[in-house]
Amino acid sequence: MDGFLDDGSLAQARRPGQDPAISFDGVSHRYPDRRDGRGTEAIADFTADIAPGALVCLLGPSGCGKSTLLNVLSGFEKPSGGRVLVDGLPVLGPGPDRGVVFQEPNLLPWRTVLGNITLGPDLAGRPREQTLRAARRLIGLTGLTGFERHAPYELSGGMRQRVALARAWISGPPILAMDEPFGALDAQTRISMQELLVDIWGGTGSTILFVTHDVDEALFLADRIMILGPRPGRLAKDISSPLPRPRIYENLVVDPVYAGLKRDILLSLRQPDYSI
């Protein structure tokens, strides 16, 4: 599956009713701590299946283990218990089948904007012509036209994160793990980035696991919102979004369904034990 590198879209490659794209199977994770022997339990017995092509938000306060789950999915950390399956196969380490967008843009300052976007295909030794064609398409989609030769440190925060999005998307990974990628942006930029994300995702059919602590962001983006309880994180609430797409930000905020859903989520986040 190549996504932007060829014209075959990922959505066609997936058949409805297929096995889950991602399965968290009793995942627990404990960070070792030198001061006591037990360490800190970040995630306890997290089990969930995620359907192919879904945009799922992991919502919860900081320290609830959202990022840990993402790191386990990305293969950066081995869970101390349970396992993660991608397309039925256990995750053994990081790999280009799971794209990652970090909290910080994490661009390479020694490469231009274009060089950052083509990083994945360059490492894989893809043909240059094909890579450039894909990059040009993504540069157009992400509104970076004219900035191809700029250095990352010459861009604004929002533009940097758009480069990071284009970099993650160019190889068309079937799965994207996104760790609060818009958290550091101002409100206006954040909204346009969310719209951009939904636009591109709609054309690719990638499965996205998106971590956030922003209820509005989760409501705007998600097909499904998984709320994590406080440490150690476990699935506290699992909501399928009834909001139809396309979603318009300005209309959502006066939509009673949206308001009711937001109220429920805020209430469940407020309760100390997140009882359902």
Partner: protein, 263 residues
């Protein structure tokens, strides 16, 4: 008032620096004029200038002044090139492979702070009194700073850069070449700059070994004839050469790692 993070701009910085150097020279000159110090203790700047002109004309001990400068520079640069050529790969390897680092760390940490002057007798014994032992001393004092600095730069590479590479499917070699090394480069440059500063200070010690020329040798030799003016001239030349060397390195650094400090 200085607000942190805000400089004065290059033009004003240079102007203020020039004024302060000029004021210092004037004060120094006045000290001589007023007869505050004997010329043997502190020769006035004009006297050093005159000695410099004499040396330019007639040389020092039958060696032209420019040759003293060049000989010292050649010794130091040969040592620096060797130290970077040997120290950089060693430091990078130590940064990448913890086992190698653990094995070599005791030696590096023992030798690095060792005053290199203490090694003069051994250098002579092993390498004779020719150029090799002089270069060896400067080489040693440069080497360990390069090793320790480049190893630390590699170890300090941001974990998120490594993770990015892994998530994009980079091989181990690609991780090193495309993520670790470029990330470590600004730190490596800083350590090479520091190391060359340290190596330059060893020049006098190296030229104490049976030299017949060089700025360091000139300073030591002139002192035995009570030629304080020439001692100070040598010191000024050593300082200037070191300053210009560092300036050149900063230029190279800006060209090679324009992103340093900009992330």
């Amino acid at each position: 008032m200085m607000r942190p993070g805000q400089g004065l701009g290059p033009a004003r910085t240079a102007a203020i620096g020039l004024v302060s150097v000029a004021a210092f020279l004037l004060a120094w000159h006045l000290c001589g004029r007023l007869g505050l110090f004997s010329p043997l203790i502190l020769p006035p700047p004009e006297e050093i200038w005159i000695s410099a002109l004499e040396l330019l004309e007639g040389g020092y001990h039958n060696v032209p002044l420019w040759r003293h400068v060049l000989v010292s520079l050649a010794r130091a640069l040969a040592a620096f090139v060797l130290a970077v050529a040997a120290g950089l790969p060693l430091g990078l390897a130590m940064g990448l492979f913890p086992v190698l680092s653990s094995a070599l760390e005791p030696f590096v940490q023992f030798l690095r702070p060792l005053p290199k002057i203490a090694l003069i007798p051994l250098a002579i014994l092993w390498l004779g009194i020719g150029e090799v032992s002089k270069i060896f001393l400067i080489f040693l004092s440069t080497l360990f700073t390069v090793v320790v600095g480049s190893a630390a730069s590699v170890r300090g590479v941001d974990l998120s850069k490594i993770r990015l590479g892994q998530a994009l499917g980079a091989s181990s070699l690609q991780l090193v070449l495309h993520f670790v090394l470029p990330s470590a480069l600004p730190g490596i440059f800083t350590s090479v700059r520091l190391a060359i500063g340290v190596g330059w200070t060893t020049l006098i010690a190296a030229e104490m070994v049976a030299a017949q020329s060089g700025m360091g040798w000139m300073v030591m030799n002139a002192s035995s004839y009570m030629r304080t003016d020439l001692v100070m001239l040598g010191i000024i030349l050593l300082g200037l050469a070191g300053y210009l060397l560092d300036l050149a390195l900063v230029r190279v650094e800006r060209l090679a790692v324009p992103w340093a400090g900009k992330e």
